[in-house]
């Protein structure tokens, strides 16, 4: 999450028109386990598909401003398993999501109580691969309360947990998040600790949790730093994501980082683990990920198979030539 750069500074100066060269990684497949597509355009979907992203996970989070009623949550969760999933499928990208009450809005306790009541209606839906993103923001008592309650829910449902670690007081917040997960009875292998940095990664890995890194300009990890992390810690239980949302962020963070890793001499096997395989292994513990769906997804949610039907269904998005000034 972003972002209060000075836009005058950002917009001044020469506008450079270059094209992104991802030839180094052409043919590779990527899985983005954390990206908020609701906030992204169809151009982003097209670019992601072109860059090799075959599947993604959209964690439930806050919308940049607080919701005022429980129905807004119902509609938001519904959109993650409905409209957004369909939008994604139109670009051939398999869409999964995690469902949860984010830490910021956990502080509105009256509303949080109501949200807790509707969560069980969503977590067993098709393609819901975990409870998330949950955890701490300001590390208040209310945040802790709903974090624990949702951990209980995950345990009961046998679902992985996607933990958002706080921006402020990060190291302590991350430690506390792991302590509490263990206290509530979760196994570290069922917990993906997100938004790690150089300061937090060692302990997360040492304690047996999954360590996710968000490649996000300015406020989180840059990908040159990420290359160094992989050089130092290897590829076991490490995954990267874009966490692209409504802030200045990059839905191509994974393919770009893969390209950089390749140029930096990291082995293809390691790149595959941190940009694809590890995220699948972690979230497939939900029983809701079938890799065959990545290749068969065409323009609908092809967890349904239409073997006998070759007609394009659901209106596949026609491809737009972005470099033409003609719009037809």
């Amino acid at each position: 999450m972003c972002c209060n750069e000075n836009f005058e500074e950002r917009n001044k100066g020469e506008k450079i028109q270059t094209t992104l060269d991802l030839n180094d990684i052409s043919g590779m497949k990527f899985f983005d386990p954390h990206v908020h597509m609701t906030s992204r355009t169809t151009d982003d979907y097209q670019a992601m598909a072109d860059a090799g992203i075959v599947a993604l996970i959209e964690p439930a989070f806050w919308l940049g401003q607080p919701r005022t009623g429980v129905d807004s949550f119902t509609d938001y969760y519904s959109s993650l398993i409905g409209w957004e999933r369909f939008r994604s499928s139109q670009f051939g990208i398999k869409h999964y999501c995690t469902i949860g009450l984010n830490s910021r809005e956990a502080n509105n306790e009256k509303l949080a109580e109501q949200v807790m009541e509707i969560l069980p209606q969503f977590i067993f839906k098709d393609g819901v691969v975990g409870i998330g993103e949950i955890g701490f923001d300001d590390q208040t008592p209310a945040e802790e309360k709903y974090y624990r309650l949702q951990l209980d829910l995950a345990l009961e449902a046998g679902l992985p947990v996607q933990i958002h670690t706080p921006h402020r007081d990060k190291k302590k917040g991350t430690q506390r998040s792991m302590d509490i997960a263990i206290e509530q009875g979760l196994s570290p292998h069922m917990v993906i600790v997100d938004h790690n940095n150089e300061e937090t990664v060692k302990e997360v890995l040492d304690r047996g949790f999954w360590a996710a890194f968000t490649i996000y300009p300015f406020t989180k990890m840059g990908n040159e730093r990420m290359v160094e992390v992989v050089k130092q810690y290897g590829s076991e239980r490490i995954m990267i994501n874009s966490a692209a949302d409504w802030g200045i962020s990059d839905p191509l963070a994974i393919p770009k980082t893969a390209a950089l890793m390749k140029r930096s001499g990291i082995s293809l096997a390691d790149i595959e683990l941190v940009t694809y395989r590890n995220a699948i292994t972690a979230f497939a513990q939900s029983g809701q990920i079938n890799e065959d769906d990545f290749t068969t997804v065409k323009n609908i949610d092809q967890s349904q198979k239409f073997a006998s039907n070759s007609i394009l269904r659901g209106g596949q998005q026609p491809r737009i030539d972005k470099n033409s000034i003609i719009i037809s």
């Binding site: 119902t74 969760y77 519904s78 398993i81 409905g82 409209w83 999933r85 369909f86 509707i118 209606q121 969503f122 067993f124 839906k125 098709d126 393609g127 029983g287 323009n299 609908i300 949610d301 967890s303 349904q304 198979k305 239409f306 073997a307 006998s308 039907n309 007609i311 269904r313 659901g314 209106g315």
Partner: protein, 231 residues
Amino acid sequence: MPIIDIKNLPELFQKIIKRNLSSDAWDWLQKKSDLIKTEERSMQLNLSFSMLPRQTGRDIIELTNDETAEFNLSGMELNDWTIDKLCRVWLLMQIPEGDKENYLRKINGLFATAEMNEQVALYAALPFYCYPEEWIARCEEGIRSNIGTVLEAIMYHNPYPAKFLSTPSWNQLVLKAFFTDKDVSKIYRLYERANPALSETLLDYVQERLAAHRTVAPEIYQLTQQMNPQI
């Protein structure tokens, strides 16, 4: 009573399901159906409706020629249905219908939080619900969806809209089908329900397409000529 005129409809479904399902999955489904028949609230219904594909899988079902013919007589075509869709629709038939208000509440509750594939099953089940006149607004709502498979569940081989929608709503369905490039030959009673208002709107639509140098679906001409033979 549902609108479909097939004798022993739940039994027919049951026969197809049993043939297309493992015995473990069938046992699970039967247990859940017993609970759904007796529960006052919607706990078991909500849970089993969501979790169903994990038990049944999603393979395309196989029908005998007789079964296919029987459904065709009622305007339906189940040959491309997946087993989870079939089982979900069958599960919906198990909801006790005696208490109308509760019956409607249960099914509307499923609609309110349905994911994409669940919506497809819920809309495909329109002809099988009791109190058919109560689902008109729901059907109209579904036509406003932009999710292709949901639209197809309502438009393709579904006898409900032709029987229950008002003329304006029916016209909306047909227009939307043309707008979203659907295979309109699969719309039940497309030509029987042609009407002057639809024809007029479609002719405007044709003009608009031609002015924009876009193609026009041939069925539009068939529909409009039927109403305006002089064109």
